[in-house]
Amino acid sequence: MSERQIELEVLRYDPEKDSAPRFQTYSVPCLNEWVVLDALNYVKENLDTTLSYRWSCHMAVCGSCGMMINGEPKLACKAFIHEYSDKIRVEPLAHFPIERDLVTVIEDFIGKLSSVKPYLIPKDDQPISAGEFKQTPAELIKFKQYTLCINCMLCYAACPQYGLVPEFVGPAAIALAHRYNQDSRDGGRDARQEVVASNEGVWECSFVGACSEVCPKHVDPAGALQQVKVASTIDWYKEHLMPWVKK
């Protein structure tokens, strides 16, 4: 176990006192095996109890501790001290308004998530007596990867289009819509298309691919969005060239 003295440069913002955010530096005795979240917890427990940030599981499954670490969107519990030099800059997740210190306002994302109807909409109503849905492994892998999203919003912080066009529905929400569209038990694709196939939906995406690069769960939202573009394009041609075909 090796010890390191880390200079943590944290962006602070107190809405009741500050007109703008400012950096505050803390000198933190760390173990090289720590993650940035451990350093933040040390600060809160020993140096400055006023520091505010979200965290929960400390094992990269809850998605709470997303923040900018040296300008890169990361989960604080997955950012290992040994990957960094002795100066680490910590800021709230990009492209979201700052509520206080490292806590961002996530209402926009939550709204977009619900707008894509992220739940199974069965094709027909089945009575309980019909039994459970059956699904083969081949049907499962069509969408399994996209179930891994932990809603950490790192992809929104990385996506430059979301930064430039706040109306953009965004990577995680559209990838989740794709997850349900691909599920053989689901019949809700048309219900989702109004949002997903709009200009502010998938068509704002220009396949930068940053979202997939930063995703801590390897969901590959960029891939999901391109697949949604292909499906939406086929829809468009069917609608316009073969309008007699009922969906």
Partner: protein, 129 residues
Amino acid sequence: MSCKPYIRETSKTTWYLEHPRYKRYMAREVTCIFILIFTFELVCALGAVANGPEAYAAFLAKLHSPLSILFNLVALVVTVYHSVTWFNVTPQAMPVQIGEEFVPGQYIVGAHYGIWAVVSLVVLILGVW
């Protein structure tokens, strides 16, 4: 609810300079300018052919200028970059499922490079034959 959320501004014109990942993206995107100009080079060649042998000789002469040589040289590098970046992302956009598994991305990319080599060879051979 937030009493006074602070909104950080991103520059609409220089945001891509902030990270190497965004610079690579912009480099990929601007390949379209070179492809557009090159395609008009082909259109002009066609126009020259339509106007007869003297017009076409004049077109070839204009092609012989230092500016054209420079452009075509740069366009070669740029269009190769477009090809490479296009092939590399194809498995993400069009995954191939066989049975209960997806074909590993590198096979799809590799197949594209293979086809690219064959097609290029065919175009070059047809070009110089």
